[in-house]
Amino acid sequence: MPDSHASAPPGRAPGLPILRVAGVDKTFHASNGPVEALHDINVTIEKGELVCVLGASGCGKSTLLRIIAGFEQATRGSVSVHGIDVDRPGPDRGMVFQDYALFPWLTVRENIEFGPRHRGVPSKAIAQTTGRFLAMVGLATSADRYPHQLSGGMKQRVAIARVLANDAEIVLMDEPFGALDALIRGKLQEDLIEIWQRTKLTIIFVTHSVEEAVLLADQIIVMTAGPGRVDCQINVDLPRPRDVSSPEFNALRRDVTRKLTSHIARSPVGDQPIYRGMDRAALDAAYNNSAAVADSNQWLDQWRSRSDAVRGMPGARLDVAYGPKERTRLDYFSAAPPGAPLFVFLHGGYWQRNSKDMFSFVAEGPRMHGIDVAVVGYTLAPAARLSEIVGEISQALSFLDSNASVFGFDRGAMCVGGWSAGGHLAAMSCGHPGVRGALAISGIFDLEPIALTYINDQLRLDSDEIATLSPARLLRQGMAPLALAVGSDELAELKRQSASFKDIADTLELPVTLQVLPDHHHFSILDELARADGALTRELLRLVARDSQDGRGPP
């Protein structure tokens, strides 16, 4: 090995870390506004470390690597090598790409010689270096083949030899073995560790495989998405060579997996980059289904007659202002006995000028069972942004909670329910201190796809709001039990959202249930709540049951 790898090259300050990433932000400008890919990344890497950057797809780990390599510029913050800021590619940081990126017109030997030749190294020295690294990666007999004559594993060996021969001090590897089969990958992992131990190189290895990270790394940097940030750094002090079947290895692997999946769950849209493949027209079609709209008009007629009937009941409805604005009012429908449970209903369609008055009929079913109902109004988009709406809901819940004695309901039995976009608001309310349980009917749980549709003309969601106002991000231990309900004829996208939200909650072992109601669509499902014998009313009864064992928190 050249001595440059064994000791710090002269002229560089001793004691400085080989690589420091300080306060790096990265924002991409997409067609629908800026997307923050990385937020305040701070990483320090010492010489000779093998560091794995671990995270789900879309958490920005590759972007971070590309910023370190100099292929991308950080929006804010800096990357320094030996204390010297770098902002463009350089031979000190060699990149190994997942798709190899070998020059197909050059033989194996010429590919390895490419860097030294362009840096003006004398031919004799080049031949010597090339020969050594060809031998190190086990390709001495294939030196004169072209890349198309090599297997994937051999190509990746050439790519590794190429950066080694170029005197790289830091080797950046972007999921280098991701495209290889398990056997070849295992062999290359072993060889990489051997090369690393012989050369004392610093390696930053990006992967989404927990096992690979635990097998290779001195230190694992776990990243979390939306926007990408470093969540924690885990030191791996298992002895080498590591035995993947040992209990210690597997304990650590489970530990890291748990950390990783909890971050997946807390990221706003899980780890699914699913929307990136969907076009705007398809999403608009999914939300603006013309059949559903026709149903909606029909259904609106139905509720008008129903709500008249409800209003006809003397003394039943109380119109109360809970906040200073025009729409921050709620309708309180009292069931006879004091000390009844309270069901707080949050309507949806806040970008479609819906109002609380349209939804007063939902009070019917719960009231038959002696449950008080409060239908909450709030400021609509675009007059209010989603963050303000969430704030108003929280204000309404606090208002009700603190005035329980005035209204005459049981303070310990307040449940929140919401329909459609209100389902999103209800799920967000699960962490509110006064809430005992929540019901999300035909709920919307992912904001990212909404932000890509016409709906966002009214909502004006930005990436910050998407990141902070998604219910999946607020899921945590100690939240109130949440029941999800969707109609079997619901829009596929909304069914998917409920199912994936439930999956995330299951991963975290949180008290979330999901039921699919047969023969219901987006608009008809609310009728189920308005019926005394409806499935949703039963669900509500279960949530508010005072003697139930599953109150707040996990069992």
Partner: protein
Amino acid sequence: MSPPTPAARPAGGAPAIAPPAESRPVSCHGAWRRLRGVALASVVPLGLLVFWDLMGRWTGTRLIPPPSDVAVTMWDFAFGGIYDDAFSASLPVHFWKSVQRVYGGFFCAAAVGVPLGMMIGRLPLLRVMLDPTLSLLRPIPVTAWLPLSMIFFGLGPKSAVFLVFLGAFYPILLNTIAGVKSVDPHLFEAAEMLGCHGSQLFRAVVLPAALPSIFTGLRLGASFAWIVIVVGEMTGVPEGLGAVIMDGRTLSRTDLVITGMIIIGIAGFLSDRILIRLNNYFLRWSPHHRA
């Protein structure tokens, strides 16, 4: 599924994957195949000759000579000794003049088209500046330039070279641009991280990576050059295959016209074979681009 244990992994050495064998055809088998290829390829031309001959006899036309007359004229044109007129044994002169003009124009087009295409493909500023102009000039047929080129270069060979240049230029330029644009961006990143920057990238990455497309452009350009040469040599040049065809037309020597046509066809075919040889040599690293 349990992860592979270290013991389960293959011990040492490169993965046991054999490279694709360099297939050297067995000579006897290869010769037979080549013969078969030639035989199959000759079926249609021979059939056309027979058809031509039969149609001539059947219609009794005197405007189109039979194949045998054309063969005699061709022999006379090449070697003389039959008619002993102005065209006898003049093939080498005419052929040589046409080759000079075709390759003169073609090499000029390649010398301008390839570097310009590489720069347009790589430099957005240049692309924005030149793209509209080029798109505007491209649909103008080469023949439409004939009067102007006679004003620019006068009557004579220079004008022909200019037209050949125009005909070959666009296919070469456009294919080069397309080739450069389609280079895998990772290759540029790989080159930069290995210490190859700026203008070095053109020689080290852009040119070789775009070479398959450039060769496509060169082959198209060369075939256009042979097409355009007849037009180019209409304009008062005394020698050249195009001039022979025009003379044949003026003198009502249809046998001479057909002779000129066949020779241009053969010349274009041979020039393409040369380019294919070069293509296969320079693109030996890419099995997809073998022609």
